[in-house]
Symmetry: C2
DNA sequence: TAGTATACGACCGTTTCTGTCGGAATTACA
DNA sequence: TGTAATTCCGACAGAAACGGTCGTATACTA
C-alpha cells in the first residue's frame, strides 16, 4: 500500500541518470540498465512509455537511445509516475472499473481526496533535477502540520 | 501504486464512525459494516488489528463491540495505516524480504526516503477527528513547493 | 444455558506487479 | 547492400499482494 511500483522507481532512476549525462546525445536502454543492474528489457519498456508520454526523445538505430525531452528542472516526479503507472489516486474510488461501490455511503471519500491532492502536490514539486542533486536534509518535521492545516 | 488498501480505507471509515458516536459505549463490527456496506467479516478482522495495536478498546459478549481507545484528535491516519498495513515505505528497499537488491547502486534511494518522510508527515498530521469534521477546502496549491524545499 | 460478540487462523479467487520472450521496424555504417 | 545496434510492440507467465470468506474457539451478558 502507498508504495511506488518498481517500474516508477526504475523510471526515476533512469531519468536521473539521463539528467546526469547531458553531454551524451542519447543513451541506450541497455546503458542505463547496466549502470544500475535493472532488468534491461523491463527498463526498455518503461523508457518507451516515458517516450510516448513526451518526457523522453528517442532515436532508433545504432548509437540511438533516449534523452530528456525537456530540461531536468521541468520534469516532475509526478509526471513520471503518471506516465508509468497511470492516473494517481490513493483511494480505489474514481478509478473506472474495479473501483469502489461504497462511493454513495462513503464519508471519508472527500477528505481523502484532499489528502490525495496534497501528496500529488508534493510529487509535483519534486523535479528530476532535485533527485540528481543531493542537498543536505535540512529542517523537516515542522510544516507538515502546517501544510495539512491548509489543505484539509 | 501509491494506493491505500481497502482495509486501511475501511479502517479509517470505521474509526471515523466511532468518533462520531461517542455516546455509545461500544459499537459492534456489524453495526459499522452495515452502516457503510463493508463486508462484515473483513471489517471485524480489521477492527481486531486496530485493537491489538491499541487504537481501539474491545469488549466481547452482548452489547459489546469497539470504542476508541484514545480521543479522536490524538489518533492519526498514519497510525491507522501502520496498524493495518504494516510499516510505511513508498519504496521497496528497507523492507526485509522481497526487497530491492539495487540498494548498493541506487542513487535515488536517499532522496526518495525523504519523500517518504514527507508523506508520512502529512499522514501523521491528519487525525480521525479531521476526517469527522468537514472543513472547507481553503487555500491549497501553494506551499507544497515550500514544504518540499525544506524536506529535500 | 442461550445468545451475542470478539478472536484467530486457514484458505481461496482475483488482481496487480515484475520480468521474459519473440518478433518487427528503424537507423548507422562499412 | 548487408549487418549490427537499437527502439518498438504485444503477449505471456510466475509471483506476490489484496479482498474476502469460513470455521471454530473464546468471552461476556442476561
Ligand atoms: S469511496 Fe470511500 S471507501 Fe470507496 S474507495 Fe473511495 S474512499 Fe475508500
Ligand atoms: S534501492 Fe533504489 S531502486 Fe531499490 S527500491 Fe530503494 S529506491 Fe527503489
Amino acid at each position: 500500500m502507498l508504495k511506488l511500483t518498481k517500474k516508477a522507481d526504475y523510471g526515476l532512476m533512469a531519468l536521473k541518470f539521463l539528467a546526469e549525462h547531458p553531454e551524451r546525445p542519447a543513451l541506450s536502454a541497455k546503458d542505463v540498465a547496466d549502470a544500475y543492474g535493472i532488468p534491461a528489457q523491463l527498463l526498455a519498456k518503461i523508457l518507451q512509455q516515458l517516450t510516448k508520454s513526451g518526457l523522453l526523445r528517442s532515436t532508433a538505430g545504432m548509437n540511438g537511445g533516449y534523452a530528456l525531452a525537456r530540461e531536468a528542472r521541468s520534469i516532475s516526479a509526478y509526471e513520471v509516475i503518471l506516465a508509468i503507472d497511470g492516473p494517481f489516486f490513493i483511494t480505489s474510488c474514481s478509478k473506472g472499473k474495479t473501483g469502489c461501490e461504497l462511493t454513495t455511503n462513503c464519508t471519508i471519500k472527500e477528505p481523502l481526496a484532499r489528502v490525495n491532492e496534497t501528496i500529488a502536490g508534493v510529487l509535483k514539486s519534486i523535479s528530476i533535477q532535485d533527485l540528481a542533486e543531493h542537498e543536505p536534509p535540512a529542517a523537516r518535521e515542522r510544516n507538515a502540520r502546517e501544510l495539512v492545516a491548509l489543505t484539509l
